[in-house]
C-alpha cells in the first residue's frame, strides 16, 4: 500500500479559498508553526508566548497536567479557539483568519464525537462529502480508511453498536480519510480502558507512519508521550518547559517540573562544596556527601538539586558510588523488579526501582543505595538544569 498512499496523500484536496501560499513556500515550510501565540479567555491567560515548529510527517506530543494549555493550543490549530496574539502557520500559510471549516484539519476527540444518528459509513464519509468528492470515490476512500483501522465491513453499523475502542478507530478513520494537512489528537486514549489504550497507542502510531501525516497529540500520560512521539513538548501553566525527543526530556529534564512530571524523579537538595569542570561535590540537606557529574564549575555554597531517576539507583550490595544508607519504608514487588521507598532522613523518602537480585527487601530493613556520578542531572536554585 505505501506507493498508493504516497500518491494520494500529498496532492491534498484544496478547499475553496484555501489556496493561498505558493507551492514553493509549502515545500520547505514546517507543517505547523506557532509564532509567539497568546491565548486568553477574558482575563485568564491560558497560553503565553508559545512558539513551536513542527516538521512535516512528525509525531509531536503536547504533554502536561490538566489546565496547562495543551488542549487550548490544539484547539487553536483547528480554529476552535481564537488566539489573542501571534501567528499560526499551516504549511507556511497564516491561518489566523481562516475559518475552521476551511482549515483542512483532522480532529480526534477524547469523547470520540461520532455522530450518533449516522452510521459508520456516513460518519467516515462526512469530511469527503463536504469536499465535493464524487460518490464512487467516497465509497472507495471510506473502504480504504476502514481497512486501515482494521474495521472493514462495519459501514452499516451505528456508533452505539461499537465498543469504545472501535468507536475511536472510526473517529480516527474519519479524521484521516480526507487527507488533512495535520491530524490533531486530543487525549484520544483517555476514555479507553487500559488494555485497549495500549493497543490503540500502537495502532495510531502505525497509521501515522503509514500515511506520513503530521500528528499533534495531546496527553497528560507520560507513558503515551514517551512511547509514541518523535518529539515531546512538556508544558506547564501555559508555557513550554522543555522541547525534545522522548530520551532527551526523560534523561535530561530541563527543569524541576519536567523531572517530576516525567517519571517521578527523586529530588535531592544540597549545597556545592568544591567543584571542577567535570564534577561537583554536593553536601545533601540530609548530611551525606556525594559526587556528581557537572558540565561546568560551580561556586562553593551554591544551592543545587540533584535529580536521580528511580531506576538509576542501585540497591544493596550493588551500591558502590555515592552510597547512601536508609531504611525501607515500603516495598512493591513487580516481578522483574521492585520499587522501594527508602528513608534517608530527608523530608521525602527516595524512590528506587531496582532489579531483583536475591531476595526482596522488607519494610524496616536498613539498606544501602547508590548511583553513578553520571546517573543524575543537576538543577540550579531556580529549578533549571545546569549546562
Amino acid at each position: 500500500m505505501p506507493d498508493s498512499q504516497g500518491t494520494t496523500l500529498h496532492p491534498r484536496p484544496v478547499l475553496a479559498g484555501a489556496a493561498g501560499a505558493s507551492a514553493a513556500a509549502e515545500a520547505n515550510s514546517p507543517a505547523v508553526e506557532f509564532r509567539d501565540i497568546d491565548i486568553a479567555y477574558g482575563k485568564f491567560v491560558a497560553v503565553r508566548d508559545f512558539s513551536l515548529s513542527i516538521r512535516k510527517g512528525s509525531f509531536v506530543t503536547l504533554l502536561g497536567p490538566s489546565g496547562c494549555g495543551k488542549t487550548t493550543i490544539l484547539r487553536s490549530i483547528a480554529g476552535l479557539v481564537d488566539i489573542s496574539g501571534g501567528q499560526i502557520m499551516i504549511d507556511g500559510r497564516r491561518v489566523d483568519d481562516v475559518p475552521i471549516y476551511k482549515r483542512n484539519i483532522g480532529l480526534v476527540f477524547q469523547s470520540y464525537a461520532l455522530f450518533p444518528h449516522k452510521n459508520v459509513f456516513d460518519n467516515v464519509a462526512f469530511g469527503l462529502k463536504y469536499r465535493n468528492v464524487p460518490k464512487p470515490e467516497i465509497a472507495r476512500k471510506v473502504g480504504k480508511a476502514l481497512e486501515m483501522v482494521r474495521l472493514p465491513g462495519s459501514e452499516k453499523k451505528l456508533p452505539s453498536q461499537l465498543s469504545g475502542g472501535q468507536q475511536q478507530r472510526i473517529a480516527l478513520a474519519r479524521a484521516i480519510v480526507f487527507e488533512p494537512q495535520v491530524l490533531l489528537l486530543d487525549e484520544p486514549l483517555s476514555a479507553l480502558d487500559a488494555n485497549m489504550r495500549e493497543e490503540m497507542r500502537v495502532e495510531i502510531k502505525k497509521i501515522q507512519k503509514e500515511t506520513g501525516i503530521t500528528a499533534i497529540f495531546v496527553t497528560h500520560d507520560q507513558e503515551e508521550a514517551l512511547s509514541m512521539s518523535d518529539r515531546i513538548v512538556v508544558m506547564n501553566a501555559g508555557a513550554v518547559e522543555q522541547i525534545g525527543t522522548p530520551e532527551e526530556v526523560y534523561e535530561a529534564p530541563a527543569t524541576a517540573f519536567v523531572a517530576d512530571f516525567l517519571g517521578k524523579a527523586n529530588m535531592l537538595a544540597g549545597t556545592v562544596r568544591g567543584s571542577d569542570r567535570k564534577t561537583a561535590v554536593v553536601v545533601l540537606g540530609t548530611g551525606q556527601t556525594i559526587n556528581v557529574a557537572c558540565p561546568r564549575p560551580l561556586a562553593d555554597g551554591s544551592k543545587v538539586t540533584v535529580v536521580v531517576r528511580p531506576q538509576k539507583f542501585s540497591v544493596g550490595a550493588g551500591a558502590s558510588a555515592n552510597r547512601l544508607t536508609g531504611r525501607v519504608v515500603s516495598a512493591s514487588y513487580l516481578g522483574g523488579s521492585a520499587i522501594y521507598e527508602i528513608d534517608i532522613g530527608g523530608k521525602a523518602s527516595l524512590r528506587a526501582n531496582a532489579p531483583i537480585t536475591g531476595r526482596v527487601l522488607r519494610e524496616g530493613e536498613t539498606v544501602d543505595l547508590g548511583f553513578d556520578a553520571e546517573g543524575c542531572v543537576l538543577l540550579d536554585e531556580g529549578g533549571q538544569r545546569i549546562s
Binding site: 478547499l15 483547528a78 480554529g79 476552535l80 475559518p99 475552521i100 471549516y101 476551511k102 482549515r103 484539519i105 483532522g106 480532529l107 476527540f109 469523547s111 464525537a113 461520532l114 455522530f115 450518533p116 444518528h117 462526512f126 469530511g127 463536504y130 469536499r131 451505528l158 456508533p159 452505539s160 453498536q161 474519519r174 480526507f178
Partner: protein, 292 residues
Amino acid sequence: MKRRWTLYDPRLAWMLVAPVLLLLIFFLVLPIAVMAGYTFFTFVTAGVETSALTTANWHEFLTDSYYSGFLLKTLRVGAITAALCGVLGYFPAYFIWATTFRHKWLLLLLLIVPFWISFTIRTFSWINILGEQGVINVALLKLGIINEPLPMLYNEGAVILGMLHFLLPYMILNVYVSLESIDRTLISAARSMGCTSAQAFREVTLPLSLPGLAAGLLLCFVLAAGSYVTPQLLGSGRDALFGNLIYDTIMGELNWPMGATLSIVLFIVLGLFAAVYTRYMGMSQIVKGLGG
C-alpha cells in the same frame, strides 16, 4: 426464617410505588372506567338516566356527522397549534441553548414565570389586547388608521393565539432539553470536517434535537385538542372545540351518558396519537440514548 429487607427488595419497591399506584387507580383508572360504563346507560331526559344498557349513545356518535365534524375540526386546530408552537418555539430554545450569556437560568426562569399567573387570567388578558376596546383597536382608532374596530377576538385565530400563548413554554422547554443533551464536540467535529455553522446545524444539531421537538409537538397537540377554556373565552360558538361540546352535553343538556361517550372518544383518539408517537419516537430515543 424471615428474609431480611434489602435496599433493592422487590417488596420495598412495591411499597414505595403503592401510594402512586393507588392514587392512579382510584383517581384515574376507576373514574375512566365509570365513565366508560356510563356510555352504555340510557338517557331519559335532562338530568335523568337509567342503568338499562344500550348502545344508543355510541350509535348516535358514529352516525351523526355533527360529532365527527367536531372531532376533525378539533384535531385540525390542535395540529395547527402544535405546528405553530414547533416553528415559534424552536428558535427561543435554540437561542437559550446557544447563548453565552452567563445567567442562562434566568432565561429559563422567564419561561416559567407565566405559570405563576392563573391560566384563565392569562387567557382573559387577550380580551384586553384584541377586543373592540382592546389596546390594539383603541390605538389604531386613535391613530386614524382604521375607522371600525378590527374583529380580532372570538374567532379561530384568537383561539389558536391563546393556545400558543399557553403552550409555547412546553415546546421551548422540550426542545431546550433535547438540545442540551447534544454533545457540543459533535458540532466542533462537523465544523472541523468542513461544515459551515449552518451546515453543522442541519447535519448535527437539528436531527439530534428532533426527539425534543417531537415530544413538544405531541404535548402541544394533545393539550390543544383537549382544551376547553381557551375556545370558551376567546372563541365564538363556531369556534368551540370537542371539549366545549362535552361541557355543553353534560352541563347544558345534562345528558351524562352522551357526555361520557364523547369524553371516552376524545380520550381514545388522543391516546392513539400518544401511542403511535411513543412507538415511533421510542425507536429514535433508543438510537439517541445509545449514541450519547
